[in-house]
Amino acid sequence: MQTTFPQLLLKHAAERPAAPAMREKEYGIWQAHSWSDLARLVEQLAAGLQQAGLRRGEHMVVIGANRPRLYATVLAAQSLGAVPVPLYQDAVGAECVFPLNNAEIRFVMVEDQEQVDKLVEIRDRCTQISNIYYDDPRGLRKYSEPGLESLDALIESGKAFVARHPQWFAAEVAKVQPGDVAAMFFTSGTTGNPKGVVHTHSTLIDRATAGAEFDRLTHAEEVLAYLPLAWIGQNIFSYAQWLACGYVVNCPESAATVTIDLKEVGPTYYFAPPRVFEGLLTSVMIRMEDASALKRKMFEACMNIARRVGPARMNGEEVGVLDRIKYALGNVLVYGPLRNNLGFSRVRVAYTAGEAIGPDLFSFYRSIGINLKQLYGSTETAVFVCLQPDNQARADTVGVPIRGVEIKVADNGEIMVKSAGLLKEYYKNPAATAEVLTADGWYHTSDAGFLDAHGHLKIIDRVKDVGRIKGGPNDGAMFAPKYVENKLKFFPFIKEVVALGDGRDHACVMINIDFDAVGNWAERRNLPYAGYTDLAQKPEVYQLMKECVEKVNADLASDTLLAGSQVSRFLVLHKELDADDGELTRTNKVRRGFIADKYGVLVEALYAGKTEQYIETVVKFEDGRTGSVSATLKINDCKTFAPVKAAA
């Protein structure tokens, strides 16, 4: 579809002027903004911005939560052929300096005082900023910052211009071409400066439409816009697809009210990262534990049926008559009310992505009748690469390539993608662009994976982390540390795992128990313990861990490619891995190399076949003091399984 976002806006405003485009909760009541209202607002904003001097091709930063007037500003900038650059609203001032300077930003639109303060703080480092507009005037009356102006004032000046030039806007919109740059997203680089990912109208709209076709989205969908606009996923779900389909985007009242708003809106199309689904499930379970015995019994009985029947039902498989009746009863008594309580009564399509999701978590939602699926994509691919069809959702794959996507696996196992939705370039960074984008249009995802027998893509790990087993019976087998770690971490008793095995003859893991879960487990079995270190070294806990590891091994054995990654020895660490000690990154990812180095004696003991090892570790307390923890750690062997040969 060759069109642009402003053209889509005008199309909806012409076809369905009175239909709601966005809703925002104000004074406790959902207020709707129609497509024609929105188009008028965008026209006025565009006129105001043009009067203020925003030029074609120039970048404009937008910072704030999901508010209709911020969306309107993004549209207004695009109508003028300018490029909106959304930034994360919870980033600190210093993090905004690079993007602001990199994109030579003169115009900034922010939500409120919090963001204005941030800009004021860094303004001496971003001297080119000339105009700052704010949506919410609260607390800003006394600011005398040059160039600071309210959005209302901007709209007023736009109104005056529009009154004099009624034809101006349509002409301006017509000048914008599908191949023009539509938006830029900064990816949070773990090393070095963030990179600006440049997308055109056609890349974003192409992917948005392909995704919408795949799930048969219509203008009747309801979406809750609660994730940051600076994240491409949010941009696709509540901006690109919103304009492509013409559905309703609902803006929550505040970050604190999202769960309440979710229930009130009852979205039909929903996206959340796994940890949101995990949080919801935990809250349900906690509330169930506090419920009366009768309710608990009913819940358990119904969930047993759901676990057995639900996933099969969702996958469109044949289900026996008796089971169907039981499930229908459960639906009336438990699943229905539960879905309603979570705000998922009307969900037709729900997606999760971003990290691996536990199979139990995944099937819980599917078993109570929520069509939760996974997808694969990134900022550079405008999200939609692979999606799971409605009745083929599995926890360990990310779906099939959708329309317009070609996938191939490189020799090193890296997944390569070609589609009409690939990034145009990294902004002002041809070297980085050349690294990921080949001359013939393939994009390097830097994820390792493969297409399984059913054509579903399976992601294993980051390419740079994938190693090889050397020597022993599994010589040359692929070793994917994160894949093994994730599988173990899906057990509630395990908090962190470090998997080792690259260049060794077998894989070993070091485990961090989840103190709350294991502590609770120990209490229920009258198992006394003095503290973390003591609990971690209990033989009963080792037995528990051993069961977990062996379950994972059994699972890995059925995987031809990864059977060699089975874990043959493990130990439980005496202290929690901590970012303060440099063992985790600030986003709680294990720093494998650092840990292997720091706990070198343990690694040696694991591979030397010892049954225990003494270790002393320096720890940093939160107040900056240091101390040391020492313990003799036991090392256990565990069963591995012969690889199960695939049937065909």
Binding site: P137, G139, K142, Y143, S254, A255, A256, P273, V276, T379
Partner: protein, 300 residues
Amino acid sequence: MTTTPEPVGAMQVQDAGPASPDRRRAAPPGGSALHEVKSVGVKIVGDVILDVNHISLRFGGVKALTDISFNVREHEIRSIIGPNGAGKSSMLNCINGVYTPQEGSITFRGQKFSHMSSRQVAEMGVARTFQNLALFKGMSVIDNIMTGRNLKIKSNLLLQALRIGPAEREEIQHREYVEGIIDFLEIQAYRKTPVGQLPYGLQKRVDLGRALAMEPQVLLLDEPMAGMNVEEKQDMCRFILDVNEEFGTTIVLIEHDMGVVMDISDRVVVLDYGKKIGDGEPEDVRNNPDVISAYLGTSH
């Protein structure tokens, strides 16, 4: 998917507390078009609105206040400080009409009186919050704040009970005003939560919300930040400053946290053993030897 969204719900609370005192003292902004957005304009400290003349208050033989005089100007933030037992709350209670001083008078907007009931005071536009929260614990946040609209409700009890005719229209109007306050204090997520279930810092906010519901001209705040952690204090500071700026409300504040007082007050009165020992701008008060000795003690 390789991009991970930032944590949801981690939106930072704005920091506009004690850390940024300067911004209130910044020169008034140039462009006037900026400030037509909502009702009230830029804060300009006006004439004396409340004048306390030679107040003395005794409980039997105990002299709580002795010959206290000070005034409060319109739109200013006026703090009353002093060590424990200095008579700060007694002073507030005199203004509020809870206590009747034996001597002296209080002038409010040029009207002088020596005895007044707390209802009369409230009708004149003076609202207060309490040191030990006096909320209805079992009622929701909305209902608690609605009680602050009590004096503004005109329709009679019967009509209200039956929710008919003018009573319903009136209810909608008041509810709208209360929703404005809820939005202002950022407690949308707790609208329907019983107040007793909220943490202390939020209860304090609801208490402030109820006082604001009266649309007061003068707001008396009795230790609004007692028992709060630093973050809660910063939030409360911002709300006080915003009330002062957005609604132009005159604020009389009792507070123990010197950092807060010095940062947000326009003028400060210092009491010690029921006597006034200092009065002036924060800087003057800070350097006043009597004040230093009352707080830190001096060697004699």
